[in-house]
């Protein structure tokens, strides 16, 4: 170890901006990461809504009206799809990050994943009922 074998090892450079195009698994990773931008955009929209609410009833009704516009609906739909993709791509890897050992055996991964889907459904349901 440590002894140089040759004086001239060749270093193959990685393309700094296009590296993820080399393999399908890198593209899937990028899709998971990039979809979080939509969550950021929606959070920004919520802050705008809060701002409108603070400005008075007229501003708020204008904000609600803009949400009902075709562009507003399209934006919400895009966010829903991207957020769902983002969430699912994280749910499938949860058994790797948080294995649960019961006695000698590990709890099967699909139970951990399904527990996340279950929690997601319950929270969504509570929000839906609350909002109605």
């Amino acid at each position: 170890m440590g002894e140089e074998m040759s004086s001239k090892p060749y270093v193959r450079e990685i393309p700094k901006t296009t590296w993820f195009l080399r393999q399908a698994r890198y593209k899937r990773y990028m899709a998971r990461e990039v979809t979080c931008i939509f969550i950021f955009a929606y959070t920004f929209l919520l802050i705008c809504g809060l701002g409108a609410l603070a400005s008075g009833p007229e501003a708020f009704s204008g904000f609600v009206e803009s949400l009902r516009s075709p562009l507003g609906v399209l934006f919400n739909l895009a966010v829903l799809i991207m957020t769902a993709y983002h969430s699912v791509s994280w749910f499938v890897v949860t058994p790797q990050a948080m294995p649960i050992q019961r006695g000698e055996e590990f709890v099967p991964g699909n139970i951990i994943v399904n527990a996340h889907y279950g929690a997601w459904a319950v929270v969504s349901l509570i929000i839906l009922i609350w909002g109605m």
């Binding site: 170890m1 440590g2 074998m5 040759s6 004086s7 001239k8 090892p9 060749y10 270093v11 193959r12 990685i14 700094k16 590296w19 993820f20 080399r22 393999q23 698994r25 890198y26 990773y29 990461e33 890897v93 058994p95 790797q96 990050a97 948080m98 294995p99 050992q101 006695g103 000698e104 055996e105 590990f106």
Partner: protein, 247 residues
Amino acid sequence: MSERQIQLEVLRYNPETDSEPRFQTYSVPCLNEWVVLDALNYVKENLDTTVSYRWSCHMAVCGSCGMMINGEPKLACKAFIHEYGDQIRVEPMAHFPVERDLVTVVDDFIAKFASIKPYLIPKEEKPVSAGEYKQTPAELLKFKQYTLCINCMLCYAACPQYGLVPQFLGPAAISMAHRYNQDSRDGGRDQRQEVVATNEGVWECSFVGACSEVCPKHVDPAGALQQVKVASTIDWYKEHLMPWVKK
């Protein structure tokens, strides 16, 4: 036994004469049950004795013959010819400097591996007369999967983060740290955390997951790294929010 003519494209680089690597194609009569390593051995024995590559056990145990086969990090002894078309391209493992042909310089990995203290550091010294360190099957199962690592470095060849940030401690080294940290006989976690829970340690990992997909022994290094992140985060909260609690 069926035979098939394969065009084997091999990356060649001779540090004494070449300024950069080039591909050389060999036409190899392959038996269907051969692996890529057999094809390389055929080239070495019959066509070109100058081709350099590492191998030893031919049974996915020694971890020597890792290389890129059609762009995918694989053990050449575990990559069956019948899974490929008539053209197979072999290159040295990505993200490592090329020493010669398919041989890479792996000093960086060896140094990183040593830095995580990959051995048992008992909580307290015990005389031999005190008897053995006992372990239950459940305690063994907690880390057994990580002991299967053969240091083939395919996870480093798959990890884009290691390719972009060569200082990254990397999947195999951190998984091995996790293996010893999880061992009920070990008390060396604090020492390993000094190397592991750093920006260039586990926090350089962005969980691409490629390491686990290519691991020939199903060690799941990506899983180990995420568990190390969770444990390190808990450490941080304990230290900053509950300084009175001893780790």
